[in-house]
């Protein structure tokens, strides 16, 4: 490709099917695919694939002499058959991107690729945008000129003519393509910017295979956060697709109650295998929760809470909260228990913030407005939370010892699901 051309953009649809001719002008075939190397924000086209009758041939992009009307090759180039299996860190655009679903990271949704937009710069062709709009569809159908003409005749101001539904290549995540180390790194970085709830929704919409591919690309932390937002059945299905070691790591990262829900769907042997692969303290917490039915207070509760003795001071309580801030997703109150673990009262965050730092918790604590037993049903827990406006409901055993708490977000999720 001549290097002195002005930089300009060009559509993939305008290249596909172009004649590929040798240096002597003889037609060799028609352009069928372009292969890019991943890693760069705007990856360059590395090779081209053309088809002659039923056979495909591949050539490095550097073999292209010029491109106008036809794709003319330099003299003495040797086309080779393309590799049979996908090559790592290479993406074949027609095979793996065009007409396929990709994740639009910015819009946090799945879209289908209608066309690709290249930047032609110093003889190189770089993928700049993905066209997911209606206009791209019209262009692929070969009607751009007719439709554009008709619309500009009737509604010259139509937004169709002015706006392009382009997504920057940097902000999309292909899912039907070959793996590779660089790919995974880029993917992890890009996907980590999605909100876990959005990521979870995208995973629910993908087909099984794509879902597994996407899940495999997430780092442990992102995977755990996303899984906390999906249904237990899906969590179980996804955990089965990664090596047990990684699955155990993900389960450790998840809130214990969610991890227990996911494990409860698995056959017993697999459950034991994963529990053994997990770190001891996390595994024990989860094992305890597994003993309760999923939709009971025991199944919904989390053992992650702040538990203090009545002699502890307000300052100590605040220090304890700060110390454990990372592992506790929600802190609404601290629970005051005696030496036997029996729940004596609670202090809300407000009590602690406005209280004198030197006062003991025993002096400012209030009685817990409601407690539930571990075998209490969802309805009972929800009723207690509603009646007393509680953000978390303490769960106690027959002796009054504190076992955990059910937080309002878990109650809400269950109530909405049950509808």
């Amino acid at each position: 490709m001549p290097e002195n051309e002005n930089p300009h953009f060009l559509f993939f649809s305008s290249l596909l099917g172009k004649k590929v001719v040798g240096a002597d002008g003889r037609e060799l075939g028609r352009l069928a695919d372009l292969v890019i190397a991943t890693g760069e924000p705007y990856p360059p086209v590395e090779s081209l694939v053309f088809k002659a009758r039923k056979e495909s041939f591949q050539l490095p992009w550097s073999a292209v002499e010029e491109m106008n009307g036809t794709v003319r090759l330099k003299p003495d180039v040797q086309p080779e058959p393309p590799p049979a299996a996908p090559v790592s860190d290479r993406i074949r655009l027609t095979e793996e991107i065009l007409d396929r679903q990709i994740v639009d990271v910015e819009g946090a949704k799945l879209v289908r690729v209608n066309d690709l937009h290249f930047l032609v710069l110093k003889g190189a062709l770089r993928v700049a945008h993905v066209d997911v709009g209606f206009r791209g569809l019209v262009r692929r159908l070969g009607w751009e000129r007719v439709v554009d003409g008709a619309i500009s005749l009737f509604r010259p101001g139509a937004s169709y003519l002015k706006t392009e539904s382009f997504l920057s290549w940097k902000l999309v995540q292909p899912i039907d393509s070959a793996p590779g180390r660089v790919r995974i790194e880029v993917a992890q970085r890009v996907l980590a910017t999605l909100h876990p709830a959005d990521l979870a929704e995208i995973m629910e919409e993908l087909d099984r295979h794509q879902r597994e591919v996407l899940f495999g690309r997430l780092d442990v932390e992102t995977a755990a956060e996303a899984l906390e937002q999906t249904s237990p059945e899906l969590v179980t299905a996804l955990l089965e697709t990664v090596p047990p070691e990684k699955a155990a790591d993900i389960l450790e990262e998840m809130a214990p109650d969610q991890a227990a829900d996911a494990l409860s769907e698995l056959p017993r042997e697999q459950q034991q295998e994963l529990l053994q692969a997990m770190e001891k303290p996390e595994a024990e917490e989860v094992e305890e929760l597994l003993e309760y039915p999923a939709r009971s207070a025991g199944g919904l509760m989390t053992p992650d809470l702040v538990e203090l003795r009545p002699e502890a001071t307000v300052a100590e309580a605040l220090a304890e909260i700060r110390r454990r801030a990372d592992e506790l997703p929600f802190i609404y109150e601290v629970f005051v228990v005696d030496t036997g673990g029996v729940l004596k009262g609670i202090c809300t965050l407000k009590d602690l913030v406005v209280g004198d730092p030197a006062t003991s918790l025993g002096r400012i604590m209030r009685e817990a407005p409601a407690t539930v037993a571990a075998d209490a049903g969802l309805k009972e827990v929800a009723r207690a939370a509603t009646k007393y406006n509680l953000l978390s409901v303490p769960v106690v055993d027959a002796d009054g010892a504190l076992r955990g708490m059910v937080t309002v977000d878990d109650i809400l999720a269950e109530v909405v699901d049950a509808r």
């Binding site: 003993e291 039915p293 509808r419």
Partner: protein, 425 residues
């Protein structure tokens, strides 16, 4: 772990109960698709087949059931193994142009079918004296609200109840007291008449039973349900049971009309006329049940067809879809859905509109579309890149291709006859 859970875990894996539980978990898509298949158009066709030709077309139900199972099984298998809908697979493997035209044809055919459903609903309640201008808008609004305002679980329950109501046909058939010995004998005795009326009716019965939208709907429903490959055997059973139920209902409709209307020599041209004619012959209960069945079928199909159509069109073009999305998020989806329902209902309300002709057009479009869909399906299901080891075996392929060729021949005839009738006026 509580005692009963422990007991369940140590039970042998292949026990009958485990199989039953698994079957119940995957059941649904096949049975619902098959029941929607017996929609207003289907019931009309079976009614007329029985009323005009007696039991002479009953034997065709056996080969039709086999063909239906073969085609639907491939859809379900593709859905389970790839996790993708048919529109998805066609777009990814055959490109934009092919997809576009298939979607246009599907849209036209399904709007036509929706018109048929609304006119079926209007005709059935017409028997009880409700005028069309009341029943059609009410039905349309009910359909629209049920799908858009109901939750998925509510809608599924309504659908399953609607499936159960098909029992109206067997009951009204028993009320009609046909000679069951004769009926059963004719079911297993192929007969053939070489007159154009008989052939047209035969093609009509085949065409109404195997319609293009069904393959799209079933495959998407199987995907939506998230059935795993290891549970495919149960899903296949769901499909087979569904196909058999469809044709059992068809069997009872034909038998009821043959044993009464045909025997009495009464001329009927629509399903509601048949329901009325059943009154004096088989008693009012049979007549009412027949009309009720027609309303149930029309309403059920009027709910699913526009919804399913909006789903595949959006799937093919990559627009967001789903009834759990907000209007702003899935504009194309909601616009399409509302437009199909509104158009379907509005057409029925236009006075003096040639309804039969519109249905004929939609039948012709269905007929033109079906061969393409079947061929695409066979190419996809035999592609090792897509299906891996779950491709068709040689025997299955032989049956599937034979079915396809026969279907192509029959629908080609239907299209030729349909176009001729349209041109002739």
């Amino acid at each position: 772990m509580p005692a009963e859970v422990e007991a369940a875990a140590v039970r042998p894996r292949r026990s009958i109960w485990r199989n039953v539980a698994l079957f119940l978990a995957v059941v649904g898509p096949g049975i619902i698709t098959a029941n929607v298949d017996n929609d207003a158009g289907g019931i009309t066709t079976y009614t007329l087949a029985g009323a005009q030709y007696g039991n002479k077309l009953l034997w065709t139900l056996i080969p039709i059931t086999v063909a239906l199972i073969v085609v639907q099984e491939m859809s379900a298998r593709m859905g389970v193994m790839t996790g993708k809908g048919l529109a998805d697979l066609i777009r990814e493997n055959f490109g934009v142009k092919v997809t576009f035209w298939i979607m246009v044809a599907l849209l036209v055919a399904d709007v036509g079918n929706t018109v048929a459903e609304f006119s079926g609903a209007a005709a059935s309640v017409g028997i009880f004296g409700v005028p069309t201008w009341v029943s059609v808008p009410l039905t349309a609004v009910a359909v629209w609200l049920l799908v858009l305002k109901g939750t998925y679980r509510q809608v599924e329950k309504v659908f399953l109840v609607a499936c159960a109501f098909y029992v109206a046909y067997p009951i009204s058939s028993f009320l009609a007291h046909p000679d069951w010995g004769v009926v059963l004998r004719e079911t297993v005795t192929p007969t053939f008449e070489l007159n154009s009326g008989y052939v047209a009716m035969l093609i009509g019965v085949v065409g109404t039973t195997i319609a293009p939208w069904m393959q799209f709907y079933l495959q998407s429903a199987v995907v939506e349900k998230g059935i795993k490959p290891e549970h495919y055997a149960h899903s296949r059973l769901d499909v087979v049971v569904g196909c058999v139920i469809t044709d059992v209902v068809a069997f009872f409709i034909i038998a009821a009309c043959a044993g009464t209307i045909w025997k009495a020599g009464i001329k009927v041209e629509t399903a509601d006329q048949a329901a009325l004619a059943l009154g004096p012959l088989a008693g009012h209960h049979a007549s009412w049940l027949f009309a009720f069945g027609l309303f149930n079928a029309s309403f059920f199909a009027a709910t699913i067809l526009p919804l399913a159509t909006s789903y595949y069109v959006c799937e093919a073009f990559g627009w967001e879809s789903g009834i759990d999305k907000k209007w702003g998020q899935a504009k194309e989806f909601y616009t399409l859905y509302t437009a199909i329902v509104a158009l379907g209902a509005a057409v029925v309300l236009i006075p003096k509109l040639p309804l039969l002709k519109i249905m004929l057009v939609s039948q012709v479009v269905n007929g033109v579309l079906l061969p393409f869909i079947l061929v695409f399906m066979l190419l996809l299901v035999n592609d090792p890149k897509i299906m891996g080891k779950h491709r068709n075996g040689p025997w299955f392929n032989a049956i599937a291709w034979t079915t396809t060729v026969v279907m192509i021949a029959l629908t080609a005839w239907l299209v030729v006859v349909g176009v001729r009738d349209l041109v002739a006026g």
